[in-house]
């Protein structure tokens, strides 16, 4: 295996162009399976639900929100680390960002798309969903901008626009590099995508500034997006949802699950795209440290949430809290604590952080725990509200579980298509971490090898 300091500039181009154009049967089989699962588990049940009504899901009278909304928050949360982390690391000039940010940003983009699909699945009449968009119409009716759900519409539109522009702009030089090496339809596609990039000093200068401005704009945006998602809940007066801690709670949870998602994606890319010498132990070590810090913050906020509920001594809050900790859904709650608060403590050990398979298992466990968290936020709070006469229990139906599985397959499909179109490791930024042909080692290399 080649070591990082042995890689030459030309190798980077070769390796990454190879990852785009050389496609083995394994890729096609995986893609076919992902597409089939998406159709069978997402679209068929959804079409059935469109025909039958939301009743195909398990929602009932007190618990009118269910796994669809939990999935929505989950996917939005997963989107949070990619672009946000990339932006933060960009403006702080972190070298270790450069090999992994492209795929992390792609994760943002695709999980946002899946999240938007979950909204379509969630609403009762998705064929009228465009009424929630502000556009002049013959009814002279506009959406209600006082609604927390409208904040969502605006925030997610902005976030989707911002993160697609960010990933695209960072890829322009790479498209140009790939353009020269491809033929046929790929060549035409990259000619269009690269916009005629040449790599002159002026172009680099402009790109650098525009990219930094975008990063600076996207950081507060990403924080606002998940705060706004939390306000869907916190702006209600439902006991245990109406809490000021919710915005930071959601933002931290989102970055937490997103970082775990990046670890999963990094593992898969490294293993199956042969990027071993670009994505190294250093990346896993750094991501592991970040995960550890996030898990501690997350645990702290969870304790605060229980504490404020208990301290309020409000009968509805107390009942809601009791139900969450010891009621019908209690096993899920303790599972979440185990996966998201206890298990990540393993990250204290450097040996654990730099072992790939344990990191993969932990990252998946964290995301299972985080999905549970979102489910519990929706499920437990709505089943225990003010009037005891309207208490109920909600259990997801088969259709809901199938759509959840299908949404994961949809994410995988989008990602599989992505790795064949976008250079999934940034060519020019990886080169920046390498010694230039007439230079010695870079600082980054001296520090890490």
């Amino acid at each position: 295996m080649r070591r990082h300091e042995d890689i030459k500039f030309a190798d980077v181009n070769n390796d990454i162009v190879r990852s785009l154009v050389e496609t083995g049967p394994r890729y096609y089989v995986t893609l076919a399976i992902a597409v089939l699962i998406t159709i069978a588990c997402f679209f068929f049940p959804w079409f059935y639900q469109l025909y039958y009504g939301i009743g195909a899901a398990g929602m009932n009278h007190p618990t009118v929100w269910g796994t669809y909304l939990a999935s929505f928050i989950f996917w939005i949360g997963l989107s949070h680390s990619g672009t946000l982390l990339s932006c933060v690391l960009h403006i702080t000039n972190s070298e270790w960002r450069k090999a992994m940010y492209r795929s992390a940003e792609a994760m943002t983009l695709f999980s946002l798309m899946v999240a938007a699909m979950m909204v379509m699945v969630h609403v009762g009449r998705p064929w009228f969903i465009h009424w929630a968009l502000p556009y002049p119409n013959q009814m002279e009716l506009w959406p209600n901008f006082r609604s927390p759900l409208m904040f969502d519409v605006m925030a997610i539109t902005t976030y989707l626009t911002g993160s697609s522009i960010f990933i695209y702009m960072g890829s322009i030089p790479d498209f140009a590099a790939v353009r020269d090496r491809t033929t046929g339809w790929r060549h035409h596609m990259y000619v269009l995508l690269s916009l005629g990039w040449r790599g002159t000093d002026t172009e680099w200068h402009r790109l650098g500034w525009a990219y930094t401005f975008l990063a600076v704009l996207i950081i507060p945006l990403a924080v606002s997006v998940h705060s706004i998602v939390s306000w869907d809940f916190a702006m209600s007066i439902v006991p245990s949802l109406h809490q000021t801690i919710f915005a930071p709670y959601f933002v931290v949870g989102a970055i937490y699950s997103g970082t775990a998602g990046i670890v999963t994606v990094m593992f898969v890319l490294r293993k199956y795209m042969n990027f071993e010498h670009y994505i190294t132990k250093v990346h896993f070590d750094n991501l592991g440290k970040l995960l550890l810090a996030l898990s501690l913050i997350w645990t702290y906020i969870n304790v605060v949430e229980v504490f404020t509920g208990w301290y309020s001594n409000d009968s509805a809050e107390l009942e809601s809290l009791r139900y969450k900790l010891f009621g019908f859904y209690a096993p899920l709650y303790w599972e979440m604590i185990l996966f998201c608060a206890v298990a990540p403590l393993l990250l204290i050990s450097k040996r654990f952080r730099t072992s790939f398979v344990p990191m993969l298992i932990l990252s998946i466990a964290i995301n299972i725990g985080m999905y549970t968290e979102r489910f519990l936020i929706v499920g437990t709070s709505l089943s225990r509200q003010y009037l005891p006469d309207s208490w109920g229990v909600y259990v997801p139906s088969l259709v809901e579980i199938s759509i959840l599985v299908g949404s994961i397959a949809m994410f995988c499909t989008l990602f599989l298509i992505f790795v064949k179109i976008f250079p999934s490791v940034s060519i020019y930024e990886v080169k920046e971490t390498l010694p230039a042909p007439d230079e010695g080692k870079t600082q980054w290399q001296e520090a890490t090898h």
């Binding site: 009762g124 009228f128 959406p143 007066i237 006469d389």
Partner: protein
């Protein structure tokens, strides 16, 4: 300068929170729990008047009942010394309704009668209003409902039949209020008088536990009930300012 004055006047108007206080009516219902026997005649009347679907056994078991009005039953004490408390619960038509602010498409809003209106045609079914409602009185059409023949013959032509994916709830029988207002206009009167309009539940209540009227008319039945020392509103601490006022049950030993 009139342009600026005009702008400022409108700005002040739009910034004033009590916009609904300028409405013509403020329909109010009082529920005298001392008179209520929990007979559920109101529930049946409401179902007949408002084309509420009969959802069937299975849907009820899954917790998807659709009656706009329900009698909440709370038991007090241990057998054999038990007491039943029955509380009719339906849309409280709050002046500061949490459900109204959350609707992204303005399918629910405060109308000119001070009622909390639900526009079925505009509803996209986010169900957020049901989450935001602390009284749990909004009901969602989880699927299309049908009426077995000849039940479809008894559907009320004044009330629309709702399709799947739409939220619905008590309207204070808005169709009857409209008719009463039309009748008053035809008679050349400006306002509807007390007793001219009654929702189906009020009309049916055998013990007259429910009274309906306009709070803005000081002579009306409800206005006089409001001064009663037993009067309270449910979940008052949430500041939703409901239009339904309950009169506390008189305890024998109190």
């Amino acid at each position: 300068m009139s342009l600026i004055d005009d702008f400022l006047a409108r700005w002040r108007e739009y910034r004033a929170p009590g916009y609904y206080e300028e409405f013509d009516y403020h329909w109010t219902m009082t529920v005298d729990l001392d008179r209520c026997t929990g007979c559920e005649a109101c529930v049946t009347a409401c179902q007949a008047e408002n084309n509420t679907p009969i959802v069937g056994e299975e849907a009820i078991a899954r917790g998807r009942h659709m009656q706009w009005m329900r009698i909440e039953r709370y038991w007090e004490g241990e057998y054999p010394d038990v007491k039943l408390r029955a509380i009719p619960m339906f849309c409280q038509h709050c002046d500061a309704a949490p459900c109204e602010t959350v609707c992204p498409v303005s399918a629910t809003y405060h109308n000119q009668d001070g009622l909390n209106a639900q526009i079925y045609n505009r509803c996209i079914g986010t169900r957020s209003c049901a989450v935001y409602c602390p009284y749990e009185v909004r009901y969602f059409n989880y699927n299309n409902h049908h009426w077995d023949a000849p039940l479809e013959q008894q559907l009320n032509p004044d009330v629309s039949v709702r399709e799947k994916g739409v939220m619905e709830k008590c309207t204070f029988c808005i169709q009857r209020i409209r008719q009463a207002k039309d009748a008053a206009k035809d008679d050349g009167r400006r306002r509807v008088q007390d007793g001219e309009v009654q929702p189906a539940c009020v009309q049916t209540c055998p013990t007259e536990a429910l009274v309906f009227g306009d709070r803005k008319d000081p002579e009306s039945g409800v206005s006089q009930m409001l001064g009663n020392e037993r009067a309270y509103t449910v979940l008052e601490e949430l500041n939703t300012d409901p239009s339904v006022v309950y009169l506390k049950k008189v305890e024998a030993d109190a």
